[in-house]
């Protein structure tokens, strides 16, 4: 097994599955790049984050399609291609661009199967780069998975590491539902052990990243490595935590969370998104409804504040939940 970045692991998944399944196509802005350029270089980009590198030379421009800046049409074309038998992987570049293209995701691909009485099959995978931490400002930094988690018909994937990202992408590409695949920009370079071959990780199955006795910590995407750091430090003081990475927010693995809370009695949820109607509040609500009698203390929810993402370094640092805030929350939930 090799150490691979999350960027390379997703790229790996795309290479393997495109070779295996000729119905998979990739489309989006600059997924290869170079079309219409003056250098003649036909892969001048490979995706603005490099995730689709090498696909065009290998699979050609009927399967790796550079599009104009037309997000509604990209999302709609993915929906239509999926209905017509292809398996599109549509790159939205920044997750924030959901704003321009929401109808095709929300009213179209999400609803086909149900609205058409179970007859429609819409296996579209939408790739969305998300997250703060790079000072990209209010319109390029959001973590809006809660918005799409709320939509029946969509599956939502939020990997925290390279190994999971590859397995989850392959699952997405072999399923028959529309999948929103969120890739945290700050995690692209993060490396972990990744097998060379294909493997799948089922949706709705959380990862138990750390095992402990005192507190259940649920963290999403970039908040997982933040929580790992804090939990490993606290372990030296004898405070141990279960760290649960849901990996998919829809479906959500409620059982793993509830079982953990049953044994620890204390829950901390960490989510980089805004607090209202968030995945964090969804999980806290689920535990209050289904695991109330296990709880020994009020649930601690750590999120970004109810503000857009600010630009200045100092403000963005304060916006993103920090290891210090996570540690304080774990200590606080132990007090009651």
């Amino acid at each position: 097994m090799a150490q691979k970045s999350m960027r390379d692991a997703i790229n790996d998944a795309l290479h393997l599955e495109m070779a295996r399944d000729p119905s998979i196509i990739v489309l989006g802005e600059d997924v290869s790049g170079g079309a219409g350029g003056t250098s003649g270089e036909r892969e001048a980009s490979g995706g603005i984050f490099g995730v689709t590198k090498g696909l065009l030379p290998k699979f050609g421009d009927r399967r790796v399609i550079d599009t104009p800046i037309s997000e509604s049409a990209i999302m709609g074309a993915a929906a239509g291609a999926a209905l017509a038998g292809l398996r599109p992987v549509a790159e939205l570049m920044f997750a924030d661009f959901v704003g321009v293209s929401l109808d095709q995701i929300f009213n179209q691909m999400a609803k086909f199967r149900y609205m058409f009485g179970g007859k429609a099959r819409c296996p579209a995978v939408v790739r969305l780069a998300m997250g703060a931490g790079m000072n990209m400002g209010a319109q390029h930094s959001q973590t809006i998975y809660a918005l799409l988690t709320a939509v029946p018909g969509l599956k939502v994937v939020v990997p925290s590491n390279a190994y999971d990202a590859k397995g989850l992408m392959i699952t997405a590409l072999r399923g028959d539902d529309p999948v929103m695949f969120f890739e945290h920009k700050a995690l692209y370079p993060r490396k972990s052990e990744v097998p060379d071959g294909a493997y799948t990780i089922p949706f709705g199955e959380a990862a138990l990243v750390r095992e402990g006795e005192h507190v259940t910590v649920v963290a999403i995407a970039r908040m997982v490595p933040f929580a790992e750091k804090v939990i490993d430090a606290l372990a030296k003081e004898g405070i141990t935590c279960d760290l649960i990475d849901p990996r998919t927010t829809s479906p959500l693995d409620e059982d793993t969370i509830l079982e953990s809370v049953e044994s620890t009695g204390r829950l901390v949820v960490i989510d980089e998104s805004n607090p209202r109607c968030s995945v964090a509040s969804d999980i806290a609500g689920m535990v209050a409804a289904k695991g109330f009698h296990s709880l020994k203390a009020p649930v601690q929810i750590i999120t970004a504040p109810h503000t857009p993402v600010p630009f200045a370094r100092e403000l963005e640092r304060a916006y993103v939940p920090s290891p210090a805030r996570i540690e304080a929350a774990i200590r606080a939930v132990l007090k009651d």
């Binding site: 802005e29 600059d30 790049g33 170079g34 079309a35 219409g36 350029g37 003056t38 250098s39 003649g40 270089e41 001048a44 980009s45 603005i48 550079d66 599009t67 104009p68 800046i69 037309s70 997000e71 509604s72 049409a73 924030d96 661009f97 704003g99 321009v100 790079m134 000072n135 990209m136 400002g137 209010a138 319109q139 390029h140 504040p305 109810h306 503000t307 857009p308 600010p310 630009f311 200045a312 370094r313 100092e314 403000l315 963005e316 304060a318 916006y319």
Partner: protein, 334 residues
């Protein structure tokens, strides 16, 4: 708007000496602002990612010299030039780009989100195609005020492919409001050529299809931009409705800072810097025609360099926003 005795070419509206000097100063300020940022970005002090406007100065200035503070513009991710041309304070802009408390947007916006409502600058926009609908709304306000003001939506060739832009163009025609759509065709959207992504290869023609007049012009020639846009702006001010300008231009840097530009032929930029530099062409024209002296232009160059230097020094020294600022400005009242 420029006043005074005309020394202008037949093709351009009246341009006084003062107006010519001012236009040069504005273009030079944009150029030096961007060239300096290109250097300063290497130090790692500037947060985020930055899209430079170098090469396109004659468009922003040629358009904005036709406008007053009461007219509106909306801008793009590549917005520094539009901001400067519309009169935004250069020091305040630099501080914003450095993420400082007394930047034009308190450090909350950054390079892609500079606005100055007192100057009619309704904001740069990091969403491609985000601006034109906003410009249509502003033009409704202009029309209803009945004071002859207009709105201008700056955008790139790439933005001409966005559905929001089509909607805005059609709506402007339906409502006959004074919106001017300016598509700066610099040949590329990110790493993709305009000849590939604009299916008809003809943005102006597309605008005509929506039912408005549209013209192309040489975006490296201040006088061509100023004269062509001048006709369209005047028409809109008189109630003639929306119009489109497609300046053909190039950008001297990559899409964003750090772009290796693999899509561009080797030597393309160097060659364009020689043949398509709006500052060189402006200088040549005004000195050859005898409208301005080289010495007065040199003096402006020196003053601009010193202004940019002051801005960078001030931005570096300025304080970052305090953490409490994180929670302010979300609502007017809550």
């Amino acid at each position: 708007m420029p006043t005074g005795p005309s020394t202008a070419p037949a093709t351009a509206p009246a341009l006084s000496r003062a107006a010519l000097l001012r236009a040069y100063r504005q273009m030079k300020t944009i150029r030096e602002f961007e060239e300096r940022l290109h250097v300063e970005i290497q130090t790692g002090e500037i947060p985020g990612f930055t899209h430079l406007y170098s090469g396109q100065e004659a468009v922003a200035v040629g358009v904005c010299e036709l406008l007053s503070d009461a007219d509106y513009i909306v801008s793009t991710h590549r917005g520094h030039g539009h901001c400067i041309a519309k009169g935004c304070d250069v020091i305040g802009m630099m501080k914003e780009i450095y993420g400082r408390r007394d930047g034009l947007c308190k450090g909350k916006g950054g390079s892609m989100h500079i606005a100055d409502f007192d100057k009619g600058m309704l904001g740069a926009n990091a969403i491609v195609g985000g601006g034109p609908p906003i410009a249509v709304g502003a033009a409704i306000a202009c029309r209803n005020r009945g004071d002859g003001t207009v709105s201008v939506a700056f955008g790139g060739d790439g933005s001409a492919n966005q559905g929001t832009v089509f909607e805005a163009m059609n709506m402007a025609v339906v409502l006959q409001v004074p919106t001017l759509f300016v598509f700066e065709n610099n040949g590329y959207s990110e790493h993709t050529g305009a000849d590939y992504a604009v299916g008809s290869k003809d943005i102006a023609g597309r605008a005509r299809g929506f039912g408005m007049p549209a013209e192309t012009c040489d975006g490296a020639d201040f006088f061509d931009v100023y004269a062509t846009m001048g006709r369209l702006v005047e028409r809109a001010r008189q109630g003639g409705g929306p119009a489109t300008l497609e300046p053909r231009i190039t950008r001297f840097f990559g899409h964003f800072e750090g772009d290796p530009q693999l899509y561009r032929a080797k030597g393309e930029v160097q060659q364009q810097r020689q043949t398509m530099d709006c500052l060189v062409r402006f200088r040549d024209r005004v000195t050859q025609e005898g409208w301005l002296e080289t010495a007065e232009l040199d003096l402006i160059d020196a003053e601009v360099l010193s202004l940019i230097d002051t801005a960078v020094v001030a931005a570096k020294a300025a304080a970052p926003p305090p953490e409490a600022d994180l929670l302010t400005d979300v609502y007017a009242a809550y």
